[in-house]
């Protein structure tokens, strides 16, 4: 029976603690942004903070964290607590990145700090961040695509690096001797510790103000209330079994892999059962931690639950990753998983989303985002003859999906990061790297057709100056357009899809077409065209004046207006031909 949880805690304490939890996570993030040194931390903000409780349940996910990083943090916390049962002390700190223990790709390494109050472990402050280097064959995985996890870098199962305030130098040395940029990464670790310390201090203040018992009651009640919200939303869905699917394309040829969701709704409970083909001998395999984060993310959006999220939501939903050894439940070792934060992460979200879209109210429909186009570049800088590697966000800015009532966001990257990865300044890039950017512009017609249009992709053309450069990609973007929902469809498909091209000085072009890298020649260029986002609703229902406005602004071409939206526009005067439009739309 559904009933409103009755309050044990007084209303002020509860609102105060709920408010403080959100603000603590953002204070933790601030510290990292201020103190980290490596570009991937502060430029791209590729890290997330969270807090778990005495039973390793997630107390809060911040608003501004990366879904892929924050979603599986409680799994890692549980793994650490289990591994060190009876040996966790005040002043300890632990690291873990191992996909076998809830990790995602190896670079995303979590730091966990347990905090005791009166000899009782009361909570953990946690930050998971993308480390610049994690060892392995080469930085940014440039020489060749890995076929197993051993080539991807160092696996760190739960390990204690600080005990009762004392650094375990032997352990730290063993780890850090395996990383390429020791100095920078050491200061990154210091900033991660500062974040945990700030979080611990603030939470500690709250506990000492309200007392341990009240604090725990209050946290339990916040879970109950979140659970109540989730249950209410689930109870409103029709009971039954609903099947969703999405596809990830093969590296070459027309092959594709199907990811299947079996969504079972019964009363106030949800079960999401995922399945997919056998794990691949490339980097696009998802260990259970990443699959977990993707499935919860899709469920939380579809259930229309407003943040902040906590454990209360998770306990209403059961996730079945299926047997070990598939692309949605990779066996590690041996599977390589570098791609799991992007592909198949977004495809798993889409598969779950596809199942939900059959049963949720139309006001909550959201479309799929363009497939992740993550790109890194590397080469030898001709100015100083040193090797460089660079994560290149401007080459990966696809469009977000539309939502009911809103067009998609253009050029925000992939859904796994949720719009958290920052674009780079062209001028700063040119100042620091031997590169010249020729253009950075929206691609006309790249947004998926719909009553609400998908977000546009941003094309990027650049020239490595006086040297050869290698461009390396994790995902495939060339064959499968972003998922449109609620009657959305596109005729002009080619423009929605992604493509990666190397242009030689003689004008000859070479496409990556699923391959995971391209090399440039001196004087040549790269052109990256990430995919656009999917639309929501029937594109023929998009108001004519909105289509005209899109054409005037060059978001949609005159051909696109006719083919995708059934609107005839005169190319000279930019006027709508109403009779022709009616004819097109009545078809």
């Amino acid at each position: 029976m559904l009933s409103d949880p009755h309050s044990k805690t007084d209303i002020i304490t509860m609102a105060t603690i709920a408010g403080a939890l959100g603000s603590i996570v953002s204070e933790m993030s601030n510290v990292v942004l201020r103190t980290a040194r490596s570009p991937v931390f502060k430029l791209a903000k590729d890290f997330s903070c969270s807090v778990c409780d005495w039973r390793e349940r997630q107390m809060v996910q911040g608003d501004a964290e990366l879904p892929v990083q924050v979603g599986s943090i409680p799994l890692v916390c549980k793994a650490v607590a289990n591994a060190y049962k009876g040996q966790v002390y005040q002043g300890d700190a632990f690291l873990c990145n191992d996909p076998a223990f809830g990790g995602t790709h190896l670079n995303d390494t979590a730091l966990l700090q347990p905090v005791f109050v009166e000899d009782e472990l009361l909570f953990w402050t946690i930050i998971r961040a993308h480390w610049l280097d994690i060892g392995g064959v080469s930085p940014a995985d440039l020489r060749q695509a890995q076929t197993d996890i051993f080539g991807e870098g160092l696996r760190i199962a739960p390990i204690k690096i600080i005990e009762r305030g004392e650094k375990r130098l032997d352990v730290m040395n063993l780890l850090f001797d395996n990383f390429r940029f020791q100095e920078q990464q050491n200061s990154d670790l210091l900033s991660m510790m500062a974040a945990c310390t700030i979080g611990s201090r603030r939470l500690g203040e709250i506990v000492s103000k309200y007392g341990k018992a009240t604090f725990k009651d209050c946290i339990e009640e916040l879970y109950d209330r979140n659970e109540f919200r989730a249950r209410k939303s689930i109870a409103d869905l029709p009971d039954g079994i609903f099947v969703g699917r999405s596809f990830m394309s093969a590296r070459s040829g027309n092959g594709k892999f199907e990811i299947l969701t079996k969504l079972t709704v019964s009363g106030e409970r949800l079960n999401i059962a995922l399945s997919g083909p056998a794990q691949l001998r490339d980097v696009r395999n998802s260990p259970f931690g990443a699959t977990h984060a993707a499935a919860y993310h899709a469920a939380a959006i579809s259930l229309g639950i407003k943040p902040p999220f906590n454990d209360g939501i998770f306990r209403t939903i059961e996730i079945d990753y299926g047997p070990l050894g598939t692309i949605v439940n990779a066996r590690v070792p041996p599977a390589a998983v570098l791609g799991c934060t992007t592909q198949p992460f977004n495809e798993i979200i889409d598969s779950v989303r596809n199942a939900f879209c059959q049963i949720i109210p139309k006001e909550r429909l959201t479309a799929g985002w363009g497939a992740a186009a993550a790109t890194s570049v590397a080469g030898v800088n001709p100015k100083n003859d040193t090797f460089y590697a660079h994560f290149h966000p401007n080459a990966a800015a696809g469009g977000s999906g539309a939502s009911w009532g809103n067009d998609g966001w253009s050029s925000v990257g992939s859904e796994g990061a949720g719009g958290a990865v920052q674009r780079e300044s062209v001028e700063l890039l040119e100042y620091e790297m031997p590169m010249l950017v020729h253009s950075l512009e929206y691609r006309t017609d790249s947004g998926g057709g719909g009553k609400w249009r998908g977000g546009l992709a941003m094309d990027c053309i650049w020239e490595p100056l006086e040297h050869e450069q290698t461009s390396r990609f994790h995902g495939t973007i060339e064959h499968i357009p972003a998922l449109g929902v609620g009657g959305a469809r596109s005729e002009m498909l080619a423009e929605k899809l992604g493509v990666r091209i190397a242009i030689d000085p003689d004008g000859k072009t070479r496409k990556a077409d699923g391959d995971s890298r391209l090399h440039s020649t001196i004087g040549g260029r790269f052109e990256m065209r990430p995919p656009g986002g999917g639309g929501v609703g029937d594109p023929f229902e998009r108001p004519i004046e909105k289509v005209l406005e899109d054409v005037q602004n060059g978001y949609v071409s005159i051909d696109g207006a006719r083919l995708d939206y059934g609107v005839a526009i005169n190319s000279k005067l930019f006027e709508v031909d109403l009779i022709a439009t009616r004819k097109l739309r009545d078809k």
Binding site: P5, D10, I11, I12, A15, T16, A20, S23, E27, N30, R34, R37, S38, P39, K42, A64, E65, L66, P67, S187, L190, A194, R225, N226, F228, R229, K232, A300, I301, K306, P307, A397, S403, G405, N406, D407, W409, S411, V412, G413, G418, G419, A420, V421, Q422, R423, S425, V426, E427, L428, Y431, S439, L440, E441, Y442, M458, I461, Q552, N553, Y555
Partner: protein
Amino acid sequence: MNYRLGVDVGGTFTDFTLLGKKGDLTIAKVLSDHKDLAGVILQGLGSLAENCRMSTDELLKEIDLIVHGTTIATNAVIQQKTARAGMITTSGFRDILELREGLKENRYDYSVPPPIPLVPRQFRLGVRERINCKGQVLIPLDEADVIDAAAVFRREGIQSVAVCLLWSIRNPLNERRILEILQAEMPGVPVFLSSDVAPQIREYPRFSTTALSAALAPLLNDYLNTLETNLSKVGFRHPIRYIQSNGGTTSGGLLRQKPVLALDSGPAAGPSAALFFARFAGSKNVVTIDMGGTSLDVSMVSQGRIETVTNTDVHRYRVGLPMVNVRTIGAGGGSIAHLDDAGILNVGPQSAESRPGPACYDRGGKMPTVTDANVALGYFSNTALLGGTMPINSEASSQVIIDEIAEPLGISLDEAAYAIYSIVNENMANAVRRISSERGHDIRDFSIVCGGGCSPGHAAAIANALGVGSVIVPRVSSVLCSFGAAITDVRHDYFRNYSGLLPDCNFQKTAKAFVEMQDDAMADLAAEGFVAERVELVWEMNLRYVGEIGDLRLTITEVDLAANPCEVIAALYHQEHEKVYTFKDEASQIELMGLNLTAYGKRDTVLNRVFVPAKDVSETEDVTSVSIRMCCFVPGTRTETYVYDGGAIRVGDVIHGPSIIEEETTTILVPPGWSIELTRNHTWIMTSVELI
């Protein structure tokens, strides 16, 4: 020639502060009317004149300076009512303005649309040209493209143009040539160059600041023209100055060159005023909380210097120039208390505003607000507020709190009202914590200064939550920004782009660049009537460790550049980095990213005494309370609380909490555990007994 007038036009009220040479001060508050600005100013002048026992004409003759702050620019941006602006940019980069930094602020909320670009894509036109990072021309400017763009702009009725080319900060010649062509092709249309408006590396903040300038120019020009004409019509012959977003004042001429500086004009004057009053209390570290009907503005002054930030967003639009660091959240007297879908009590950010307003105003408000909670708890009078001019229906307050909060939660009226009061205070305390922790400050080293009509009722509770022991309530707190306008210094910022590793820098050239900026500054300030003795100049360098995304501004002097500048500056930078960011990295190379010069034209400092017209208080009479009210400080109990008439209290009187002081425009709540003293200069200082 005896008075200076500060005027702060806000959304609801226009505030006036009249400051005499001898330190006498008169304030007035008039309802804003954005259609009849001159009328509002005349009405305010009339009210001030009456208080000074003069006619308006007589008063106008006595005023030698008007300093004006206005929300017009901020409102235009919020309400999307900016001009039809065009942009000319490097071909291939016309989307920089709309791409922003590519961030989606909330990762989980799929119902928020992206910001609407200030210049729509169809009016962002690329022209063929390219300059590289060394300032070399790779592709010369195609002038025919510019002429074509001008034709489009003319056809489309474009009112102003932003010219934003890549690397124009290294070589502005193409931008300047485009200006010449546009002036010939579309005479009279204001044109802004990114290399003039916001010269910094990083194209997005530079383009955005320039686009904001263009989008605000027509509107601001009209506003300034109307204001200046109207004031001259009524016989005002002296200078008018404007509060700019950096907290200082500027002339109408300079503001017209950078209209973006009109953003936050008004609130930006708050910190100056706060610092002024805090000095009497011996405090140089101040956080200002300005709580009005709908929102709370928080800003900080540390070590006596008003904090500015560069590259911050004003309503989702990036400004690449120094602005007073004002953080706004939706917490005010009109903030609505409601239960969310999880049954948790929230207060704000929605507001009942002035219409319908709180339930106790009896104007149809049906939702409980913070003001209603204040009335229900007994903190506010249950008959009338604002010196008796605003009648209060206290039963309406109780009823909505019972209906909307107490009954659904199964708690008492007092519990519900106290919860609303406490939660809004927690929200405000969190806003203060955020702004201070971002800057690495320990908030316990600060005093709180109240601005806005609502702050004095909440300040002590916020201070309790933050561990702050002292609260300063100027008697003019309800018109704090107009007071700030009347006293603040003139401020101008100058920039030079310069980049290179410290060891490679030519410091003679750097010093020369500072001297050039200094000459510009002296000329600008001389034109505003400042002699050299009244000018203060601050030299700053933007520095970073190689590879850092942000840079730090380091204040230096001419002496630092004299001998071993490279070592001296490196040492200063390591020290500053450790202070702000908690660590230094002496192994890392330091890079110079730019030079800044800030010039202040200092106002007279004869203001050491401030008077508000007060009732005559007999020297012998003891302080007596007007009445006793039963107030709730702990749900379940009501405590006898003395209510005093603020106007009847003498300098040096100390009053212990719990008590309430009712002033003409505000109510000060002194909770248990606090005491308050009226000091000279008509400033109340409230102190926590526990934290002494």
